[in-house]
Amino acid sequence: MLSQESLARIDVEVAKYPPEQKQSAVMGALRIAQEEKGWLANETIDFVARYLDMAPIAAFEVASFYNMYDIEPVGKHKITVCTNLPCALSGGVHAAEYIKQKLGIDFNETTADGKFTLKEGECMGACGDAPVLLVNNHRMCSWMTPEKIDQMLADLDK
């Protein structure tokens, strides 16, 4: 279900917690599973739950509670733009509008070629860098002017 490499990475997470508390590693494990699979299908969540000896619904609770898990398929690249107030005051909304218009999609939509999904994000703890956006959950991009957005999209498109 998951690659040996992912399982090894999950084991590293498990080792951070006392042996009888494997469930603590579920956030890390779901993240690793998502990195491998692109999104979290039910079978993937089920697999992770069993791997950690927890009820599948308990793992689903976690996967559906935290925003960065995708329990629906997403495009190859997920772009999450912060539009919260501090960012909005420095162009967060304008940056999001620019991307929408560039990609021809709205929030929570994926481009027809399956390359990009756009999401509206909440505060990322980087308000001083507004406009900020997150690429594929793990790469934060700061001070995103239209030029930088163009460059980013071009790089991702390669």
Binding site: N42, D46, A55, P56, I57, F60, E61, S64
Partner: protein
């Protein structure tokens, strides 16, 4: 003790009490939804906010610990203001269409909204809609009504032992759901219907069939497992519409198993026998009671006259009432026969000679909570006795350590610390190993009679671990489950269980299969001196059988042998609520007798508690209460002492008119030489037979919604990977199983919860009846 003043009343409460506990004690009602006395505290609904002196804000009564000298107002202006505020929030997204809601009339939200809600809503936005979920055949959903109190989630986690429901997503999008596309399969699932304070979870079989105020509520007792759960049966127009728990802390607490709750559906089954029937010249005909009873009386009389009293016998279901069992044994004895038995699935009767008193649990049910060690021998505990397993589960959370010896290791959803997973044929030696290790651990010699046997066995690591664990406890019990009672060496197993209990100063008990297993013993529904037990009666067929409440192919230790014996008999009189298909072949008379809802009766449960009940509806068609039928039959046979006007009189006679009658007769210990007879002989694998909970008695077998659950799935041939490999079959493959008695075909399932060298094949099912005995050797062959 702490002192607290609630609404002006000063009371003392135990340390660790919450304000809610104190309010209950003081008689102040605090409105609430998420709080439930048997569940962990969530404090999420916020309905129970009360005013506490010096607290800057209202506090939830359910979660706030009492401190000494605390002053609380549950209905002050500030408290009510907070409660009303919460009520408004609860209602903004809740449909306000009580008239079309199945919960209408018994809804906590509706009740409280009357007192705390405003007539018009200030919420003008669109209401939330939540998709319904398929939870299976028993529980219906209307999730838009859910108030997210999480009682159902906590129930599955904490009481049922497996988290089958969760609260997924977050904030306003939070939804109660099972894991995607899963159903709720717990054998206790129906309790979430009772727990749901609104109409989000309701009974699927009952749905929209009546309003609560249209139904009368009558007390009854569950006729299924040996617990005797207390019931409220709800009736409309003389039909049972629904069954709910009647709270009894000593027995079922506030719960019911799904079997207790939903088996009532069988009462309206098409298979109900509604008229007496007799077979004459090979033809079945419906007759009136007079004709039928005369037919039966004449038949019995002429058999006794022609072939002697020893040629007739009675086979009585342990699910029958005390009154029925009493009159049936009295009738048989009146005819001069001691051939009476109610232990229909039992195989070993070698303990009978030494046994005195009725085998019972050996302790009150509620005392499970105070045990710290429990050894279970041969049981499918969770499915055989769902609520007893639930008690063990709760006790295990508080430190009870459970061990097990037997051929099965399916998940009981409670920690089993040590488990000796051995084939039935090795259970005796394994248990002897426990005795041996225990004797060393506690430095007490093994009793003389079994010392030699015990000395010769080796102590397995599992037996050693079980013994060490038992030796370290201070309050232990050893229970023999249904599988142990049905075991071909049952008496020997019991002998060793008794020895283990003796070595640890613990208690020993037999859980008991049926609602009246104990009662049947107490009233003598077992063979007397010179009488034949059930196995004997079937091995060497009798000329006439009186069969009460039992079906040849499902309720006996050996379906094939039973069937053959009945077919050979000159007269088989079958008394029961249903028209069994097989009985059409083997019976000569079928008399419709009332199920528990249509007759007065009494059950004695596994702890020896006598519980009487009355009929809650009129008998269906020409059905008659069993005790009345047997009374008339006694009279027609010209026997003395059959003049009863009421069921109570039968009960008084059966129980000797003394309150101590039952308790004086509890016992059931045996004193036997340990069996030298192997449990299974021949080449092949040992059969391990469970009696699945929804096949176990004639009622559940015919309850349609229960029959749609996972637990009612057709039996499989379960074996571990090694056994499967040895027999050359793969998981999912169709296999032929052959015993000395016959052949059946089933699908194989690889299941590591079955001991090596065994095949688990359920009993009490059409598809497996052809295998004959519940134990013994079978061969497996892939098809």
């Amino acid at each position: 003790m702490l002192e607290i003043e609630i609404d002006g009343k000063v009371i003392q409460v135990n340390d660790g009490s919450t304000v809610m506990d104190a309010a209950t004690q003081a008689g102040s009602y605090v409105p609430h939804f998420c709080y439930h006395k048997k569940l962990s505290i969530a404090a999420n609904c916020r309905m129970c906010l009360v005013q506490v002196e010096k607290a800057p804000k209202p506090l939830p009564a359910c979660a706030t610990p009492v401190t000494n000298g605390m002053k609380v107002w549950t209905h002050s202006e500030a408290a009510v203001k907070a409660q009303k505020g919460v009520m408004e929030f609860l209602l903004i997204n809740h449909p306000l269409d009580c008239p079309i809601c199945d919960q209408g009339g018994e809804c906590q939200l509706q009740d409280l909204a009357v007192g705390y809600g405003d007539s018009s809503s200030r919420y003008q936005e669109e209401k939330r809609v939540v998709l319904n979920k398929n939870l299976g055949s028993l529980v219906a959903t209307d999730m838009t009504r859910c108030i997210n109190c999480t009682r159902c989630v906590r129930f599955t986690q904490e009481i049922a032992g497996e988290m089958e429901l969760g609260q997924a997503f977050r904030g306003e999008h939070a939804e109660i759901m099972p894991f995607v596309e899963k159903t709720v399969d717990s054998e206790l699932s129906g309790n979430i219907i009772d727990l749901c304070p609104v109409g989000a979870l309701t009974s699927k079989p009952f749905r929209f069939s009546a309003r609560t105020w249209e139904m009368s509520r009558r007390k009854s007792v569950s006729p299924h497992d040996s617990l005797g759960s207390n019931l409220i049966v709800q009736v409309k127009h003389d039909t049972v519409k629904r069954v709910l728990p009647l709270e009894n802390e000593a027995i079922n607490e506030c719960w019911l198993s799904d079997k207790d709750r939903f088996a009532y559906e069988a009462l309206g089954s098409d298979e109900r026998l509604t008229k007496p029937m007799i077979r004459q010249g090979g033809e079945w005909q419906e007759v009136d009671w007079q004709t039928a009873l005369e037919f039966v009386a004449n038949g019995l009389k002429s058999t006794v006259r022609e072939q002697g009293a020893q040629s007739v016998g009675a086979l009585l279901s342990p699910h029958a009432t005390l009154e029925e069992l009493h009159l049936a044994q009295k009738l048989m004895r009146g005819l001069g026969s001691e051939n009476i038995d109610s232990r229909l699935r039992q195989a070993d009767f070698s303990g009978d000679a030494s046994r005195s008193g009725a085998p019972w649990l050996g302790m009150p049910i509620a005392e499970v909570a105070s045990l710290n060690r429990l050894l279970v021998v041969g049981s499918f505990l969770r499915k055989d006795h769902p609520l007893l397993a639930q008690r063990v589960r709760q006790a295990a959370k508080r430190g009870l350590r459970v061990s097990y010896v037997g051929p099965n290791a399916e998940d009981w959803l409670l920690p089993v610390r040590n488990r000796a997973l051995v084939a039935p044929g090795k259970m005796l030696a394994e248990l002897a190993g426990v005795v041996k290790a225990l004797s060393l651990a506690v430095s007490k010699p093994v009793s003389g009679a079994i010392a030699d046997y015990v000395a010769a066995v080796a102590i397995s690591p599992a037996a050693q671990a079980i013994a060490d664990d038992l030796a370290a406890g201070s309050s232990a019990a050893v229970w023999l489950g249904n599988l142990a009672a049905q075991h071909p060496q049952a008496a020997s197993l019991q002998q060793l269980a008794q020895e283990i209990a003796r070595l640890v100063d613990g208690r020993v008990g037999i859980i008991g299969e049926a609602a009246n297993s104990v009662g049947a013993h107490v009233v003598g529904a077992v063979p007397g001196a010179g009488g034949r037990n059930v196995a004997d009666m079937l091995d060497k067929p009798l000329a006439a059988y009186l069969v009460l409440g039992a079906e040849a192919e499902f309720d006996f230790a050996d379906a094939v042998k039973t069937r053959t014996a009945f077919e050979q008999a000159g007269l088989v009189v079958s008394l029961g609520a249903f028209r069994s298909v097989a009985a059409l072949d083997y019976a000569d008379a079928m008399l419709p007798i009332a199920p528990f809802t249509e007759t007065a009766g009494t059950f004695v449960n596994c702890e020896g508690r006598v519980q009487s009940f009355y009929g809650v509806v009129k008998p269906l068609g020409e059905t008659r209460p069993g005790w009345k039928v047997l009374r008339v039959l006694g009279n027609l046979l010209g026997l003395d002492g059959f003049d009863f006007a009421k069921a109570d009189e039968v009960c008084v006679e059966a129980l000797g008119g003394s309150p101590e009658f039952v308790s004086e007769r509890l016992g059931g210990l045996v004193d036997v030489p340990l069996s030298s007879q192997p449990a299974a002989e021949g080449k092949g694998f040992e059969r391990v037979a469970d009696i699945p909970l929804y096949f176990a008695d004639p009622l559940v077998r015919r309850a349609p919604s229960l029959q749609k659950t996972k637990d009612a799935a057709a039996p499989l041939a379960r074996m571990n990977a090694a056994t499967a490999a040895a027999s050359g079959v793969a998981d999912g493959q169709l296999v032929r199983l052959r015993s000395a008695a016959g052949v059946v075909s089933l699908t194989a399932r690889v299941d590591e919860a079955v001991a090596d060298g065994c095949v688990r094949v359920a009993g009490a099912h059409q598809s497996t009846a052809g295998l004959g005995p519940l134990s013994g050797v079978i061969s497996v062959e892939g098809l």
